[in-house]
C-alpha cells in the first residue's frame, strides 16, 4: 500500500476486521452471561481488630496451595488510600501483592477503612492517622510484644504512613511507601493542578462527605478518552475469553467501588497536602501536632511507578532527602498506578523486592 498515505488497509481487510469485531460481539452474548464470579480476594483472612467501621485483617499464608506460616517475625501492616478499596492488593489468585508477600514468608495485615457514611463527616486526619493507624499499630505491637512494626503505605495511605511515622517514630521499624505523593505541585500532576484553586471550604461545606460519584468523575476526567472510550472498545477484544472478561469486570468493579470521603478529612488533606504542599513546605498539623519528616529515622523503601498518571514519579521521588533516615532506597517499577498491583510484572517484582529489602534489614 505504498503511496496511499497513512492508511494501509483495503476494503477487504476492513471487512475482515469488521467480521472479527462482530464475532467478538457475538461471543460476548454468551460469555457475559456465563461469568458468574467476579468476587475479589484471593486469600483467607480474619478480622483481628476493629474500631468503628475500620477493620484490621490478618491474611493467612498457610491456607495457600504452597502455603506456610510466616517466617518474618515482624508483622507488615498495609495502609491503603481512602479512595477506592484496599482489596486491590489481593484482587485475585494471580493478581495479589498480599499473596506474593505471604508466599515469601511475610506476616501481612491490611487496614480496611470501610465505607464512611454521613455520621463520619467530621472525622479528621487525626482520626485516620492517630486513631485508626495508631490503633492498628498498637494492637500489633501488643500482640507481637515489640516496639515497632513494618508499615507499607500505598498512595494516599503512604502519605498517611509518613505522617504516622513522623509523629510516632518509635512505633515503626521499617517504612515502605508505594506510589505515594510527596510533592503535590510537580508540573505533571493533574490532580494537583486542578485542586489548587478550589475553594475546598465551600466544597466540603456544600457536599458534606464527598460523594463517590464526584471522586470517580474526577479520576475519569484525568484521561477521558482512554478511560471512558478506548477501554470499552478494548473490552470487545476479550469478549470471547471468559477468564479475561472476568478479570476485566473485576477491575471495573474495583474502579467504581469508591467510598464517599469523610468531609473534614478531605478538607484537611486538600488544604495541607494538595494546596499547601506541606511535606515540602511544612505546616502539616495532625491533631495539633506538627508533622516533621526529619523525625523519620527508620529505613525507607520508596517504590514509584514510571508511568503513573495519578502520582507522577517526580512527586514520589521528592521524598529523597526530606526525612532523617540515612537508609533510604528507591525502587522504580516499569508500569502505571494500577499496574503496580495487578500486572504480571508486578507479581514477579514487587513482593520480592519488598521481601528482600525487609530481610536485609532484619539481620
Amino acid at each position: 500500500m505504498e503511496g496511499l498515505g497513512p492508511l494501509g488497509f483495503t476494503p477487504d481487510s476492513l471487512a475482515q476486521e469488521s467480521l472479527r469485531f462482530q464475532a467478538k460481539l457475538r461471543a460476548g452474548l454468551d460469555t457475559l452471561h456465563q461469568v458468574h464470579d467476579i468476587d475479589y480476594g484471593a486469600t483467607a483472612r480474619e478480622e483481628v481488630w476493629r474500631d468503628g467501621k475500620v477493620v484490621l485483617y490478618r491474611f493467612r499464608g498457610n491456607t495457600l496451595p504452597n502455603g506456610r506460616a510466616p517466617t518474618a517475625r515482624v508483622p507488615l501492616l498495609i495502609v491503603y488510600a481512602l479512595v477506592n478499596r484496599p482489596y486491590m492488593v489481593d484482587l485475585q489468585d494471580d493478581k495479589s501483592i498480599v499473596r506474593g508477600l505471604l508466599e515469601r514468608g511475610e506476616d501481612v495485615y491490611v487496614l480496611d477503612w470501610g465505607y464512611p457514611d454521613r455520621s463520619d463527616r467530621y472525622l479528621e486526619l487525626e482520626d485516620y492517622i492517630q486513631r485508626y493507624i495508631g490503633g492498628a499499630v498498637d494492637h500489633l505491637r501488643h500482640e507481637y510484644r515489640m516496639d515497632g512494626v513494618n508499615v507499607l503505605g500505598i498512595c494516599q495511605g503512604g502519605a498517611f504512613s509518613l505522617c504516622f511515622t513522623a509523629l510516632n517514630p518509635h512505633k515503626v521499624r521499617n517504612l515502605i511507601t508505594m506510589v505515594t505523593p510527596v510533592d503535590f505541585h510537580t508540573s505533571d500532576n493533574m490532580l494537583g493542578n486542578w485542586t489548587r484553586g478550589l475553594d475546598v471550604d465551600l466544597f466540603v461545606d456544600t457536599l458534606g462527605n464527598v460523594p463517590a460519584d464526584v471522586m470517580n468523575w474526577c479520576y475519569l476526567t484525568l484521561k477521558p478518552w482512554r478511560l471512558f472510550v478506548q477501554k470499552y472498545v478494548g473490552m470487545v477484544d476479550v469478549l470471547d475469553d471468559p477468564k479475561a472478561l472476568e478479570d476485566f469486570l473485576r477491575m471495573e468493579k474495583w474502579i467504581f467501588d469508591s467510598p464517599d470521603q469523610a468531609g473534614e478529612a478531605f478538607r484537611q488533606f486538600v488544604k495541607q497536602f494538595y494546596q499547601g504542599n506541606g511535606f515540602l513546605k511544612g505546616g502539616i498539623e495532625i491533631g495539633g501536632r506538627t508533622v516533621d519528616l526529619r523525625n523519620i529515622e527508620v529505613p525507607i523503601l520508596n517504590i514509584y511507578a514510571e508511568q503513573d498518571h495519578l502520582v507522577p514519579p517526580a512527586s514520589s521521588r521528592a521524598l529523597d532527602g526530606l526525612t532523617g533516615s540515612d537508609d533510604y532506597s528507591e525502587l522504580s517499577f516499569r508500569g502505571g498506578h494500577i499496574g503496580i498491583y495487578v500486572s504480571s510484572r508486578a507479581q514477579r517484582e514487587v513482593p520480592q523486592a519488598i521481601h528482600d529489602w525487609l530481610a536485609q534489614r532484619a539481620k
Binding site: 452474548l29 484553586g197 491533631g287
Partner: protein
C-alpha cells in the same frame, strides 16, 4: 434464546451487507454503516442480563465507545483502498465530528457517568424545573432592591439567581477550553497521520486509526489540563457549582423548616457533637489508662523489699508524688503504648 437467534440472523445480514458494500468499488464517502447505532443498541440489549458489573460495562460501552468507534469505521471506509493524505483524513474526521465548531471533548464529558454533583449541564437538568419556575414567578422582582418584610427572602432568591448565572458563565469558559483542546487534537491527529505515511509505518486496521486519534486527543487534553488557565477555569467552575448547590440547599432547608422537618444543618450539628464527644471520651479513656499504668508501676516500685513472711498486712500508703505525673499524662492526646515486652526479632 429466540431473541439472540434473531439478533444473530439480523446481525449477519447487516455485517455481510456492509462487507459487500466495502468490497465493491465505491466513490469516496459512499461506504457508510447505516444502522450501526441500532445494531449496537440491539447487541447491548441482548448482552445484558448477566452480572450487574457486566451490565454496567455494556452500558458504558454503549454510552460512548461504540459511537466513537462506529464513526471511526465510517471514516476508514471512506478512505479504504484509496490514496489519501493525512490532511484529507484529518479534515474528514473533523467534518464528521461537526466541522470547525466541533468540540469532541464536550461530547465525551457529556456522556460520562455523572450526577448532579459533577456535570454542570446535568445540574441544570435536575434543578431546571424549580429554577425556571422561580425565575418565571420572580422575574419582576429579582432585580429590584430588596425591602419590606420579605426583604431577606428576596435577597436570598436574588443570590440564587445570580449563582445560576455565574455557573452558566463558568461552564461556558470551561467549555471554551475543552473546545480549544479539541481543535488541538485535530491538528495533532493530522501530524500523527503524517508521521505514519512513510512506507512500513502505515495503519493497517481501523483500531490502529482509532488508537491514533485517542493518543492525539489525550495529548491535547493533557496540555490544556495541566495549564494555569485550566486550573483557574476548573476552580471557578467547581466553586460556581458549589455556590449554586449550596444556595439550593438553603432553599430546601428553608422550606423544610417551615414544615418542622429536620434539616441537614441540624443533622450535621448532631454528627459533629457525636464525633467531638467520641474524641473527648477516647482522650479521657487514654488518660485514665495511663494513670492506672503509672499508678501500678509506682505501687510496684514503692513496695518494701522484705520477705513475704514479715510483710506488713496493710498496703503501703501511696506516695503523694503520684499526682504530679498523672496530671501530665492527661494532656496526651493519644494512647500511650503499653510497656513493650522483650520483643522477638525478625
Amino acid at each position: 434464546m429466540q431473541g439472540v437467534d434473531d439478533f444473530e440472523a439480523w446481525n449477519r445480514r447487516y455485517w455481510n451487507a456492509w462487507g459487500d458494500a466495502l468490497r465493491a468499488t465505491q466513490p469516496a464517502g459512499a461506504a457508510t454503516m447505516p444502522g450501526w447505532t441500532d445494531a449496537m443498541d440491539w447487541w447491548s440489549r441482548f448482552a445484558r442480563g448477566g452480572l450487574p458489573q457486566g451490565d454496567e460495562a455494556v452500558s458504558r460501552f454503549n454510552a460512548q465507545a461504540q459511537g466513537w468507534f462506529g464513526q471511526m469505521q465510517q471514516l476508514a471506509a471512506q478512505f479504504a483502498g484509496r490514496p489519501a493524505n493525512a490532511g484529507d483524513i484529518a479534515s474528514a474526521w473533523r467534518q464528521a465530528l461537526g466541522g470547525d465548531g466541533a468540540n469532541p471533548f464536550a461530547q465525551v464529558f457529556a456522556n460520562m457517568p455523572g450526577s448532579t454533583q459533577t456535570d454542570p449541564s446535568k445540574m441544570f437538568e435536575a434543578f431546571a424545573p424549580w429554577l425556571q419556575s422561580m425565575q418565571r414567578d420572580g422575574r419582576s422582582w429579582l432585580s429590584l432592591p430588596a425591602f419590606g418584610f420579605a426583604r431577606e427572602h428576596q435577597e436570598r432568591w436574588q443570590h440564587l439567581a445570580q449563582a445560576q448565572v455565574d455557573l452558566q458563565e463558568q461552564g461556558q469558559a470551561y467549555q471554551a477550553l475543552l473546545a480549544e483542546a479539541g481543535q488541538d487534537a485535530f491538528s495533532r491527529f493530522e501530524r500523527k497521520l503524517e508521521a505514519r505515511s512513510a512506507p512500513g509505518k502505515q495503519l493497517d486496521t481501523v483500531r490502529a486509526l482509532f488508537d491514533l486519534w485517542i493518543d492525539a486527543a489525550e495529548e491535547a487534553y493533557a496540555d490544556i489540563a495541566l495549564s494555569p488557565r485550566f486550573r483557574d477555569a476548573y476552580a471557578a467552575l467547581v466553586n460556581a457549582q458549589m455556590t449554586l448547590r449550596g444556595r439550593m440547599q438553603k432553599e430546601v432547608e428553608q422550606l423544610g423548616s417551615q414544615f418542622g422537618m429536620p434539616t441537614r444543618t441540624e443533622v450535621d450539628s448532631a454528627h459533629r457533637k457525636i464525633v467531638e464527644l467520641e474524641r473527648e471520651q477516647r482522650r479521657l479513656r487514654d488518660a485514665i489508662e495511663a494513670l492506672m499504668r503509672q499508678s501500678s508501676r509506682m505501687q510496684a516500685s514503692s513496695a518494701p523489699e522484705v520477705p513475704p513472711a514479715v510483710a506488713p498486712k496493710k498496703a503501703a500508703p501511696k506516695p503523694a508524688a503520684t499526682k504530679k505525673p498523672a496530671a501530665k499524662a492527661t494532656t496526651k492526646s493519644t494512647r500511650p503504648a503499653s510497656k513493650p515486652k522483650p520483643g522477638r526479632t525478625r
